[in-house]
């Protein structure tokens, strides 16, 4: 007898439909799985055998052939267990075969017959809806996540037995309760109101958030660069539902996310020993890297000068295109990588440059230190701010702003940009290309003169001039100015990345 059920393989962060076909015929007892399955899938024979017996079903003593179609797609991991087991049960007449047609099934089995938590349920649910299936069976822990996809009847079941009951027509179990709000409060998002002093870096953070500009923080150790960077996600506009689902599926596939919809923008801070593959994705099978995990959020590179050159250079394509293509063998996978980059570095090897009595680094040391920063990456940084040590008075005074009020300003500025940039392909000022800058950044007379003056002094390179214009436009948006004013332009000049002429010469 032949039974067939749908399931999904996870290819990068996308679903690929896989048909599980099981045929049982007379012959010596055997269980073969065909269809380009990896070791974990082939091992599932033993899991399925035990799980079926321990769920009080019978394992047919006949010749069983399971096929995973399409045969050209490589199937990886234990997520096919539940589908294979149900197909065996259907093929041996223990559950109705016809009922399987509207179901997709996903999950790993334990020997005792429990459905184990398996990462990627949201991706599977999206695949099921796209394939026109109406019902989905997933492990109970993943039910809330899968239920995020509308128009799909999701059954979160704890065991194979329960899954079989659902197929037989039992009422699917209720979705599990959301964890209590108190547990979420514990991990409250870091807020700008916790910060004392740092008026300058906080302004830079708001400008970065408002215009989608990448930001470089430079300053001695222990002044609060990391603390500031961690608060950037809190002032970015709240994610839309579509963005939240994108983020949730990525984190679900990576196995980093436990339950429900992710509400906060991700913040990823990989250690500087990370490899290029770890940063942009790779491996076999290819897994999303930190750049993809930071999608719609913030990627923070602390101690930028300590990263390997090759690692930083690997970020160029993701920064440029908003996605990264990983090519392995005959397949190319595309991972989304739309993130804001924020980086921190010490100004010199000892870290205390600018604090005269403590820094003993010579010009040559500093040159060497700066050479380690990847040029192409620095080229993508619109803003540079000096993070100094706050004064005693600043440390004991109140907070300058809270994340909530900063986020409101940022959202307003973004709204103005959206209206202006409609139809240009750019969503925020940080994404404007040279042509868009020329067309959409208007300066008033004094600003025009100041820019020309700065350029003629050699304080700006041609590319630096563009960056300053983009940033000035964002500052004007934050201030609600229609044209960039003198003050806006000067502020942007004060945050520019300096092409240091002494070392350029």
């Amino acid at each position: 007898m032949l039974a067939r059920i749908a399931t999904f393989a996870i290819d990068g962060v996308d679903p690929r439909q896989v048909w599980v076909e099981v045929h049982i015929r007379a012959g010596l007892p055997a269980f073969a799985i065909v269809g380009l399955a990896d070791t974990a899938v082939r091992e599932s024979r033993d899991r399925i055998h035990s799980a079926i017996l321990n769920s009080k079903f019978e394992f047919p003593s006949k010749r069983i052939t399971a096929n995973l179609a399409p045969a050209f797609l490589r199937k990886v991991g234990p997520g096919f267990d539940a589908a294979l087991a149900l197909a065996v049960l259907a093929a041996s007449g223990q559950i109705p075969r016809d009922a399987l047609a509207s179901y997709a099934v996903f999950g790993e089995l334990s020997l005792g017959g429990e459905l184990r938590d398996s990462p990627g349920a949201l991706v599977v649910a999206e695949g099921a809806r796209r394939a026109g299936l109406t019902r989905l069976i997933v492990p109970r822990e993943r039910a809330r996540e899968a239920a995020l996809v509308e128009g799909l009847e999701v059954a979160g079941v704890p065991t194979l037995r329960a899954a079989a009951e659902v197929v037989r027509g039992a009422r699917p179990p209720e979705l599990p309760e959301a964890p209590p709000a108190a547990a979420r409060q514990l991990a409250a998002e870091p807020d700008l109101a916790d910060v004392r002093g740092h008026a300058l870096p906080m302004l830079a953070l708001q400008i970065a958030a408002a215009g989608g500009h990448n930001l470089l923080l430079e300053g001695p150790p222990g002044t609060g660069k990391t603390m500031l960077a961690r608060r950037l996600p809190s002032i970015l506009p709240r994610m839309t539902r579509a963005e939240a689902i994108e983020v949730t599926r990525i984190h679900s596939v990576a196995g980093l996310h436990a339950d429900g919809l992710i509400g906060r923008r991700p913040f990823r801070a990989p250690h500087h020993t990370i490899s290029p593959a770890g940063l942009v994705g790779g491996g076999a099978p290819p897994r999303p890297g930190e750049a993809t995990l930071a999608h719609r959020g913030v990627l923070f590179l602390d101690e930028l000068s300590e990263f390997q050159r090759s690692t930083l250079d690997a970020l160029r394509q993701p920064l440029e295109d908003g996605s990264v293509a990983i090519v392995r063998g005959q397949r190319a996978l595309v991972f989304p990588t739309k993130f804001m980059l924020i980086a921190a570095t010490n100004p010199c090897p000892c870290g205390f440059a600018g604090i005269e009595d403590r820094c003993n680094c010579g010009e040559a040391d500093i040159r060497r230190h700066r050479r380690k920063l990847s040029g192409p990456l620095l080229d993508r940084m619109d803003l540079l701010v000096d993070v100094g040590r706050p004064t005693e008075r600043e440390l004991t005074s109140g907070p300058i702003t809270s994340s909530d009020s900063a986020r409101r300003r940022v959202a307003e500025a973004r709204e103005r940009q959206r209206a202006r940039l409609d139809g240009t392909g750019a969503l925020c000022n940080g994404e404007m290309d040279a042509r868009t800058v020329r067309r959409h950044v208007e300066l008033d007379e004094p600003a025009e003169q100041a820019l020309a003056h700065a350029y003629s002094l050699g304080a700006l390179s041609a590319r630096g001039r563009h960056r300053v214009l983009r940033v000035a436009r964002t500052i004007a948006d934050l201030e609600g100015h229609g044209r960039v004013t003198h003050q806006d332009l000067l502020t942007a000049l004060g945050l520019r990345q300096q092409p240091d002429l002494a070392s350029a010469a």
Partner: protein, 359 residues
């Protein structure tokens, strides 16, 4: 200009050939360079002495000339009346000057009163800032700046002069067509385009340690005055100052922090009677007599009171944020204020987003 004579080129060839041998005598390099060819070979040639003598007599001078012109060098030897007269004060003047850029510009500068600005490679931001502004101001006052194109003070002096729109002369340890240090390629191009790079060694000679003190003697001799901006106790720029002293040329030094090891050597020069250099005017006074020539006045625009407070805070060595807070600025106005100070030429935005005061 006639180029260089055969005798001088023969000697130059020998220095290149014996570059490795000479390194063994680098501690007494000035004395060794005074030896004539035969003595030099006898003293340092060792087992190869006979070969060296034979090669020297057989050397193809025409080929040497071709190599120089292929490298785009102009030559002047000490038998030429146009040879810089100050160099003749040395006991062993370089026999041939190999020049890239403009030989005429070099000779013109040497005939005037060029000033050497030298100092430590491991210079502080204060030191490089002073070297740069000194170079710029002297350049604007019509005084050519000489230096060695090393990292730190030397490079900053060249950059300053070039930024001030004046030619500058770099005296290199190795062949003048090859930038040394190699990472100063861009600066070398600028120097060659506006001034000249010069050396006593022929093209293709690898750089050896003895060439640095030998180069320093040329800087000291070419310059009418030597100014040490920042030098540690073992800095090569003190060698330059010592040569200048032997030649009885005026020496100046810029005062540095007494707590900074990088300034110990230059401060010691001041203690030993060197002219105190607080700015370009001190150099001009020492060269031409007090008040004879004056550095171009400060043509920077007048500052408002708030900006002056901010500038004073930065000059005290405060970080950007602290200086802004102390001057009572809100962050966005503060950044704009810093930018206007920069556009007015009072500060420079440095690598890390900090601001350095331009003296």
């Amino acid at each position: 200009m006639s180029g260089a004579c055969d005798g001088c080129l023969r000697r130059t060839w020998l220095l290149g050939r014996m570059a490795g041998h000479l390194d063994h005598a680098r501690a007494r390099i000035a004395a060794v360079l005074e030896l004539d060819d035969g003595e030099l070979i006898a003293a340092l040639g060792g087992e190869l002495a006979d070969d060296l003598l034979r090669d020297r007599d057989a050397v193809d001078i025409g080929l040497q000339r071709d190599r120089c012109s292929e490298a785009g060098l102009q030559l002047v030897c000490r038998c030429d009346p146009a040879y810089p007269v100050r160099l003749r004060d040395l006991a062993a003047p370089p026999r041939v000057l190999h020049v890239v850029g403009g030989l005429d510009r070099l000779l013109q500068a040497a005939a005037g009163d060029p000033v050497a600005i030298v100092g430590s490679r491991a210079a502080s931001p204060y030191g490089t800032g002073v070297a740069r502004s000194l170079g710029a101001a002297l350049g604007r006052a019509g005084v050519t700046v000489l230096s060695g194109m090393a990292h730190g003070i030397d490079a900053a002096a060249h950059v300053g002069a070039l930024d001030g729109g004046a030619p500058t002369i770099a005296v290199l340890p190795g062949p003048p067509d090859r930038p040394y240090p190699a990472s100063r390629r861009a600066l070398h191009r600028r120097v060659v385009a506006a001034g000249a790079a010069v050396s006593e060694l022929p093209p293709g000679t690898p750089v050896r340690r003895w060439m640095f003190p030998a180069r320093n003697r040329i800087i000291a001799a070419l310059a009418a005055m030597t100014v040490v901006v920042e030098a540690g106790e073992r800095s090569g720029s003190l060698v330059t100052a010592a040569f200048a002293q032997q030649l009885a040329r005026p020496i100046g030094a810029v005062p540095g922090q007494i707590t900074r090891p990088q300034a110990a050597g230059s401060n010691a020069l001041l203690a030993g009677g060197a002219t105190v250099v607080r700015g370009p005017q001190d150099v001009l006074d020492a060269l031409f007599g007090a008040g004879v020539r004056s550095a171009a006045g400060d043509d920077r625009p007048e500052l408002t009171e708030e900006l002056a407070v901010l500038l004073a805070g930065l000059a005290d060595g405060h970080g950007t944020s602290t200086a802004l807070v102390q001057a009572g600025y809100e962050p966005d106005e503060g950044l704009a204020a810093l930018a206007s100070l920069e556009l007015a030429g009072y500060v420079r935005r440095e690598g890390g987003g900090r601001y350095a005061v331009i003296p």
